[in-house]
């Protein structure tokens, strides 16, 4: 895994909450930055990953991971996604 930093920026709103919490839960090393108004910046070395199972559990309903598009502001890294996971990483 690369030592480069990946990041993902989400809007700071209720729709983003289960995603943010899933990133927290599934990426224990990740850093969460709230210093910029309106958004949350999530950084990690190498990769950031969430699974459909955890996001749905946190939202209390079946979540389609592509709902991420509604709250996504920006990201850095290569995207890999399927129905059950979403991942950003550097190779």
């Amino acid at each position: 895994m690369s030592e480069s930093k990946v990041f993902i920026i989400l809007q700071r709103n209720e729709d983003a909450r289960p995603f943010v919490e899933a990133f927290e839960q599934e990426n224990p090393e990740a850093v969460f930055k709230y210093d910029q108004p309106g958004m949350i910046r999530i950084e990690n070395i190498g990769e950031l990953k969430i699974t459909e199972e955890v996001v749905s559990e946190l939202a209390g309903r079946d979540v389609d991971l592509q709902e991420l598009h509604l709250v996504l502001v920006s990201l850095s890294g290569c995207v890999d996604e399927d129905d059950d996971y979403f991942k950003v990483s550097w190779n």
Partner: protein, 506 residues
């Protein structure tokens, strides 16, 4: 019941097998622009869109984004949200945005529609179609959002007309025209990779966060709504670069040349953004330099480390852009300040608090090089002689920015930087080694440049007097000049019950 298909399968069904082999015309004639740039594509099936959005999901999420945005625009208008800004001077940044950036979104819409027609691979066609629709959505939502401000403030009434004519808007316009008049692969490298991937974070993220900081919830919302599409576009930009380079070894050198060129072209456009961010936001959450360090130095450092295995390297002249980071916003905003009598926005000397913030954010440069200039202008203003440039500026033949840049890389930040090329018996002036290299590579192209200052002198902009030119630009007299005492300032103060006698500047 049939099992639901997984994402990969759904995406494959959408993007494969929809094309056909032409029979009564050769393929090169059906897709006439695909090969002349020298890019060799062996197998379009290797194209993979990183976000595997089907048409159904695409429409669903885009509709959802729009519903949210329009609900916010409505409530913003009903609650007179424009009165909750930090200050009406903030609107000047929005004026540059709608005059300079929104027409680029429209240009991107047209560019990607063309690409969807010109590429023969179905995956690429669909990605370009979706992006084309996204870009149209951006320009529409931006116009809808800012139309509320147009009811209350100056300079927002005719951005598309202005974009095609006005001197500072020729900077973004000429960059997009440069990309759109190139072939399809160069356009894609320019807009999707150099602009969207490398640089749009610098445009949207700190600026929109800045809008939130200054109470402009409407702009935040369209900004973030557009930016959620940008994430897809950026990722697409990265994939296309990898795809092209993996297709054939001959492609690498061509693509690297385009990355070098279009990184610099797009970076020069962002000079306007640096001035908006550091000077035109009354409260700035982050300086241009800080944003550059995060979004270019760190982020693109990681990106090009990853791209190294394809043989790609950082864009040429990136060191110069990084060296300029402590100077750029100041040099650009001084230029806007002294020519704002010919602009559809107003400028002013930064407040004391703003200057102290600039000192703090630019400890190596602001007090030494730039604060004295503001002090000089403040003295002139006190004597009733607010400084407006009495002439017109020399422009760079390539980036079209007034030649305000200095020899920073040579350690001489107080010497204006001049570069000269000769072509076909004539002189062509550029602002840096980077712009000169771009000119020298394709002088046939840049000798056609429509430089606004020269066009005024040739008599093609409405007349000889500045007032004729401003009419040609569709400016109204209250659009331009000094912010203090402007129509926007007066109506803002009146709406907030403030005295309209302008205070003596301290």
């Amino acid at each position: 019941m049939a099992k639901k298909l997984n994402m990969r399968k759904r995406y494959e069904l959408l993007t494969r097998g929809l094309g056909w082999e032409p029979t009564y015309q050769p393929k090169e004639k059906v897709f006439p622009q695909e090969s002349y740039e020298g890019i060799k594509i062996v197998d379009w099936d290797k194209w993979e869109d990183p976000f595997r959005l089907t048409a159904e999901a695409y429409w669903k999420y885009q509709a959802e984004k729009d519903k949210k945005l329009y609900a916010i625009i409505d409530s913003f208008a009903q609650n007179n949200g424009h009165l909750n800004l930090t200050n009406a001077s903030y609107i000047n940044a929005l004026k540059i945005f709608i005059q300079g950036v929104s027409p680029l979104e429209y240009g991107a819409h047209r560019g990607f529609a063309n690409l969807a027609r010109q590429f023969s691979g179905e995956g690429a066609q669909i990605a370009c179609q979706m992006q084309s629709i996204d870009e149209l959505r951006h320009v529409q939502t931006q116009i809808h959002t800012l139309s509320h401000y147009n009811k209350h403030f100056t300079g927002l009434h005719d951005p598309f007309h202005m974009h095609d004519r006005v001197w500072y808007l020729s900077v973004p316009k000429s960059y997009f025209d440069d990309a759109r008049s190139a072939g399809p692969f160069e356009f894609m490298t320019s807009i999707s990779f150099a602009f969207e991937y490398i640089l749009t974070n610098l445009l949207f993220v700190p600026f929109m966060s800045g809008a939130a900081h200054n109470g402009d919830m409407a702009t935040v919302t369209f900004g973030f709504s557009a930016q959620s599409d940008e994430s897809r576009h950026m990722t697409l930009g990265l994939e296309i670069i990898k795809f092209i380079v993996e297709q054939h070894e001959d492609n690498l050198e061509i693509v690297q040349g385009w990355i070098d060129k279009h990184f610099w072209r797009a970076y020069r456009v962002l000079g306007l953004v640096s001035a908006m961010q550091d000077y035109m936001l009354p409260d700035s959450p982050m300086s241009w330099k800080e944003a550059w360090d995060i979004y270019f130095v760190d982020n693109c450092g990681a990106l090009f480390k990853d791209l190294g295995r394809y043989g790609l390297r950082m864009p040429k002249f990136h060191e110069q852009a990084t060296a300029e980071a402590e100077h750029l916003s100041h040099q650009i905003y001084f230029t806007l300040y002294q020519f704002s009598h010919a602009a559809a926005f107003q400028t002013e000397i930064p407040s004391k608090e703003k200057m102290d913030w600039l000192s703090e954010k630019y400890p190596n440069t602001f007090d030494k090089y730039y604060r004295p200039r503001w002090e000089m202008y403040a003295e002139m203003e006190k004597q009733g002689k607010r400084y407006f440039n009495a002439g017109l500026p020399q422009l760079c033949q390539v980036c079209q920015v007034p030649m305000c840049f200095t020899e920073i890389s040579k350690g001489k930040p107080l010497d204006l930087s001049y570069r000269l090329s000769e072509y076909n018996g004539d002189k062509f002036h550029t602002c840096t080694d980077a712009c000169k290299a771009i000119f020298d590579h394709e002088p046939e192209k840049y000798s056609h440049a429509w430089l606004p200052v020269h066009q005024i002198f040739q008599g093609n902009c409405g007349g000889e007097e500045i007032s004729d030119v401003l009419k040609f630009y569709h400016f109204n007299p209250e659009d331009s000049g000094e912010y203090k005492g402007s129509a926007d300032d007066i109506s803002w103060r009146a709406a907030h019950g403030e005295n309209n006698d302008i205070e003596e500047s301290a």
